[in-house]
Amino acid sequence: MSSPEQWTHPEPGGGPAATAAKPTPEQVIAGLRATNEGGAELVELLTPEGERVANPEFDKYVDDIGAEQLRGLYRDMVLVRRADREGNALQRQGQLGIWVPLLGQEAAQIGAGRALKPQDMAFPSYREHGVAWCRGIKPEQILATFRGTQHSEWDPVEHRFHPYTIVIGNQVVNAAGYAMGQRFDGKVGHEPDAEATMVFFGDGATSQGDVHEGFVWAAVYDAPVVFYCQNNQWAISEPTERQSRLPLYQRARGYGFPGIRVDGNDVLACLAVSRWALEECRTGNGPVLIEAFTYRMDAHTTSDDPTRYRLSDELEAWKLKDPIERVRVHLVRNGMAEPEFFEEVQVEADQLASELRAYCFNMPDPPAERIFSKVYAGGNPLLDKQRDEYMDYLAGFEGGAH
């Protein structure tokens, strides 16, 4: 196969550059979305067929992953998928204002999330329910955002998991700053308490100025931050070629830190590559960019209708790469799990879903005072007055004054 180098970095005078409007076959193969192939540089440890392929560079990062651990990863993925589907259903039933599905991205998220150490910090976008899970956040705690009872529910300090960030790209600079702080605090090095930061964003986000600035800052300050781009092939209705000529992991080339593409539907590869990248960061070789090559199997959100802009063939092709199925096959084929295991996980998943459901139905609306609370840490007399006047006004209704 021809090397992507051939067209991505033509030497001056060495012939025309490839252009975005007419991608060459090489471009297509190298991984823009006109294909579902990740290209030659894709790191994969577990094929879609569930076969473990050796990888001399990355095997060592998962040599502790035996049958038990693999069952754990499988369980994680099944549970977050089940919670995700329940979230979707709850929205359909009018219980949530919107739901942002992670369907298809379980491996990308669980692989990354399980690579994080407790002392590491994570900055999510808005779709990282799987990473949240790994950070000890219950699916219940995510509902508030989408039901509209709170903007964010979990304690970001306790879980070392920042609130969801909706403005595309914002969190990437925030994370770079946090990671600079880890370094200023002396937490980069070879001590066991060394820390790193991981920040999540999508393929579309790579176009934002803030993502670039995050790259610049991290490079200049050697910040221990892993930029984890889940390329799920779509930014709402826009395919990756609306954002870039190049496979996104190659963006790192322009900044002088490594970029790597991993099969985002392969939980083992995501775990290995994330562990490697986090370790690079913790020991002072950050930053690192990871592109997890995956697919958004559902709509962008429950408000979206993907039939308007993509063909179902594509979805069918990606179904064959399902992140959960390949682990199941692998476990079964290699005698690493009994049928009971799968049944237990299924029961557990159903249990989780019904708890989530019950929780959702019982979520109280916040009181009107919520509007005014926690705007300022140090208070604001004008706002206090607004609150008091409004509360009086509301009390007037209760008293039947109106």
Partner: protein, 339 residues
């Protein structure tokens, strides 16, 4: 402005018909694009998908990818390239997907869009429109329900308008595109589905003029965008208790056209300004300021504001408490009358 020519291909009926505000804007865009090949539509998801609110539905199909651009995901880039396209002679119409995402473009708007004409002593014109769905009441997550129009009304060099009904929406978008000044066009997203009959042969009302949408004598309500309907409903309710409220749809937020407000206040002596935006340092403040100066001896009570509170937009389960509603408007009228 001449009524746009509609051909069969676009499948838009020529006769008056009942349309939603969303469809009205879509028709207005289409008319402008048919009239002038230099009009471009650009933004996130505006092409194949027709925008998250379907305002640009079908336009890419009919006008092609070079007139309707699905852009990369970055608002400074959208507005910044639109500036370059405008300098080149195009008339770009940018969509910002939700008002909360206009801020990455704030610098381009403030430093280039608003100033290039002045900087070049008029040698460059910037005929570009930035369409922004705004306002709350749609049960959305953060950044999807804000009302940032006051920031732009404080910015010299741009013009700011907001439509409140389908008829205005149809005409105002075309007038904004025809304007040689940059226009920020705020669309009240929770009114996208309101319907009205549109006579595409009518003579449109001027763009930079406010309008009395309900004459009255007891007190004056000045408002714009999503709250025009709220205020009209309030006036209807008040009529039952014998109050005859005048309602003014401001339509143009920069420059403000307050002559009809002054005239009204001189008759009624009472003014309530309603807006969803936080009230401090807002368009509502400006109106109060201007009215207390222009109508000093006519006011029988101070100008009262009914606005969003000075907090970030709250979680949607309490947004009905946050947003000015009929009751809060009438409460303010009562307070004004009882002053």
């Amino acid at each position: 402005m001449a009524a746009p020519v509609m051909d069969k291909q676009t499948a838009v009926p020529a006769a008056p018909t009942k349309l939603t505000m969303g469809k009205a804007i879509n028709m207005g865009l289409r008319a402008a694009m048919e009239r002038d090949p230099k009009v471009l539509v650009m933004g996130e998801d505006v092409g194949k998908m027709g925008g998250v609110y379907r305002i640009t539905d079908g336009l890419q199909k009919d006008f092609g990818e070079h007139r309707v651009l699905d852009t990369p995901l970055a608002e400074s880039g959208i507005v910044g390239t639109a500036v370059g396209l405008a300098v080149r002679g195009f008339r770009p119409v940018c969509e910002i997907q939700f008002e909360g995402f206009i801020f990455p473009a704030f610098d381009q708007i403030s430093s280039q869009v608003a100033k290039l004409h002045y900087r070049t002593q008029g040698m460059l014109k910037l005929p570009l429109v930035i369409r922004v769905p705004f306002g709350g009441g749609v049960g959305a997550v953060e950044h999807h329900s804000e009302s940032p129009e006051s920031y732009f009304a404080h910015m010299p060099g741009i013009k700011v308008v907001s439509c409140a009904n389908p008829v205005d929406a149809y005409w105002m978008i075309q007038q904004a595109i025809d304007s040689d000044d940059p226009v920020i066009f705020f669309e009240p997203k929770r009114r996208y589905h309101e319907k009205a009959e549109i006579d595409t042969e009518a003579t449109p009302y001027p763009l930079f003029k406010s309008r009395v949408v309900r004459p009255g004598t007891t007190a004056t309500l000045a408002t714009y965008g999503p709250l025009v309907k709220t205020c009209l409903d309030a006036a209807t309710a008040a009529a039952e208790s014998g109050q005859d409220l005048e309602v003014i749809d401001l339509r143009t937020l920069s420059p403000l056209d307050l002559d009809p407000v002054f005239e009204s206040v001189r008759r009624t002596g009472h003014l309530v300004v309603a807006s969803e935006a936080p009230g401090e340092v807002s368009i509502a403040s400006e109106i109060a300021d201007r009215v207390q100066r222009e109508c000093f001896y006519s006011l029988e009570a101070p100008v009262l504001k009914v606005t969003g509170f000075d907090t970030p937009y709250p979680p949607s389960k309490v947004e009905e408490e946050y947003l000015p509603d009929l009751d809060r408007v009438l409460d303010a009228v009562d307070r004004s009358l009882a002053w």
